[in-house]
């Protein structure tokens, strides 16, 4: 479980996060949604320690991450897996080397044990046999899947995904969403997905936290989101004609 308490963050006097709090449970897919510039990615980066919040705390199963020293943070980070918006695969390494990299750094496993783990992760994301390809030889969807495979290689307790569907076609987006949901339920990870993709919201949003202009405006599940009377949330969710028509129909 990850708990955030009253997170504030500003850049050069511009306040991006204004006192965000929330609890993200394990085994469910937690979504942080909001329009562009609402502070979703900044919140995610504050949670994983890429940004230091101005105030507030981030608790990983009760352990306060924000005041931790560099060495203490490393112990928590070994339990974190993250899928980046652009996949962030290491260009100079093959798929196999990318996934094996954290294993090489932090485990004492033999090469064959590590290779077994790599193959297992690749199988899990339906990319068997792609070990020797370089990131430049992969499609966008494949890169995301390799990113997920690398994120789960160390059996993380916490999985963060920053806009996992950006730049993907709707069909591949659904594959990625389902994969994230499956892994979350199977390994009981605390998964937090930052997205503004409404298909993801409706498909996998067990818990949704809606941000608007740096503030938390709403929280709930995908079943509740269509029935709120919060103007800002409705403007976001039903921005497209299709969603508006769907709401009117049902």
């Amino acid at each position: 479980m990850i708990e955030i308490k009253d997170i504030y963050k500003s850049f050069s006097g511009n306040e991006v996060l204004k006192g965000i709090s929330g609890v993200f449970q394990e085994g469910v897919t937690n979504l942080i949604i909001g329009g562009s510039g609402s502070g979703k990615t900044t919140l995610l980066k504050c949670m994983v320690g890429l940004h230091q919040p101005d105030s507030g705390s981030v608790l990983y199963d009760g352990r306060d991450f924000t005041p931790m020293s560099y060495e203490e943070r490393i112990d928590v980070r070994k339990e974190i897996g993250m899928l980046f918006q652009g996949s962030a695969l290491f260009d100079s390494m093959t798929v196999e080397e990318n996934i094996m990299f954290p294993l090489n750094m932090f485990t004492t496993q033999t090469r064959s044990e590590k290779l077994d783990r790599v193959n297992f992760c690749l199988e899990r994301v339906n990319l068997e046999g792609k070990n020797k390809l370089f990131p430049s030889e992969l499609s966008g969807g494949m890169k995301k899947r390799v990113g997920i495979a690398r994120a789960i290689a160390m059996n993380p307790k916490y999985l963060f995904c920053d806009e996992p569907n950006s730049g993907l076609d709707p069909k591949t987006s659904i594959v990625i969403d389902e994969l994230i949901k499956e892994l979350t339920e199977e390994y009981k990870t605390t998964t937090i997905v930052v997205t503004h993709d409404m298909n993801s919201v409706m498909g996998i949003g067990d818990y949704i936290l809606f941000l608007h202009e740096g503030k938390k405006f709403w929280e709930g599940s995908n079943k509740e989101i269509a029935h709120t009377d919060i103007q800002e949330l409705n403007d976001f969710v039903f921005a497209s004609r299709f969603m508006k028509a769907a709401k009117d129909k049902f």
Binding site: V48, G49, L50, Y70, R73, I74, D75, R77, K78, I80, M82, F84, Q85, G86, A88, L89, F90, D91, F101, P102, N104, M105, F106, M154, F160
Partner: protein, 244 residues
């Protein structure tokens, strides 16, 4: 580099020299970087040094036209100039262009594509993993390249002098073997060590803190080469004043 940047540069260096997570992986990276910096630059340094040595001989011969000055002096001047100044400084400036821009672009691209963030999220000390192997390869391989450069520059002088007839081989050999002070080699190697550190650490700093996209990466790369060249010249003066 203003004071804020200098402070950030020092803080980055502090992170670079943290204890490595796994020495074996770092050693592998160091070997890879040594190959790139050392072996990869050998051809360029060889060509530049040989020609500079040859041209130096011709120019010294052109300027020393007095009958009172023995021609052996051409060898002596060429030797000392090559060892003390030309080999370390010209090699460093050439390497700043070749290696410095590559380091800055590589690390800068990794920054803008979130690869550095990925390393940090994994719990890896990104400055250490990315920059330490480059600095170690710089401070070990640049002195080696400078030694080769010295040898080739003096040899180039011999070839140039012989072909042009500016100095006979016997006079040149006598010149380079007369009054040789081995301390000049020490000075040159100290310079090469300092330059090797600058060539790798300054571009790494510029790349590490890039913000933006491809344009900013290219600007950082240019800035890295310019700052490295200026730093090399300033340090050249300081080391020379301190040691000679």
């Amino acid at each position: 580099m203003n004071f804020t940047n200098f402070g950030r540069y020092i803080l980055l260096l502090k992170s670079v020299f943290r204890r490595p997570e796994k020495l074996k992986i770092y050693l592998k990276e160091i070997a890879k970087q040594m190959d790139y910096v050392g072996v990869g630059s050998l051809g360029l340094i060889a060509i530049i040094s040989t020609f500079i040595g040859a041209v130096m001989t011709l120019q010294i011969a052109f300027q020393l036209v007095s009958d009172f000055i023995p021609k052996t002096i051409i060898g002596s001047v060429n030797r000392d100039s090559s060892i003390l100044e030309l080999s370390p400084t010209i090699s460093a400036i050439v390497l700043a262009g070749k290696i410095g821009s590559a380091i800055s672009s590589e690390i800068g691209s990794m920054r803008v594509t979130e690869q550095i963030d990925a390393l940090e999220i994994m719990g890896i000390n990104a400055p250490g993993y990315l920059i330490l192997p480059k600095i170690i390869s710089g401070i070990t391989m640049v002195p080696m390249l400078v030694i080769i450069s010295m040898f080739l520059s003096i040899t180039g002088g011999y070839i140039g002098g012989s072909i042009s007839g500016a100095v006979t081989p016997a006079e040149y050999i006598q010149g380079i073997t007369t009054d040789f002070n081995p301390y000049t080699i020490t000075v040159a190697l100290v310079k090469a060590f300092v330059f090797g550190f600058i060539i790798t650490s300054v571009p790494a700093y510029e790349g590490f803190y890039v913000k933006g996209g491809a344009l900013e990466v290219s600007l950082a790369s240019t800035r890295a080469v310019v700052i490295s060249c200026i730093s090399i010249l300033v340090c050249d003066y300081l080391v020379t004043q301190l040691l000679l």
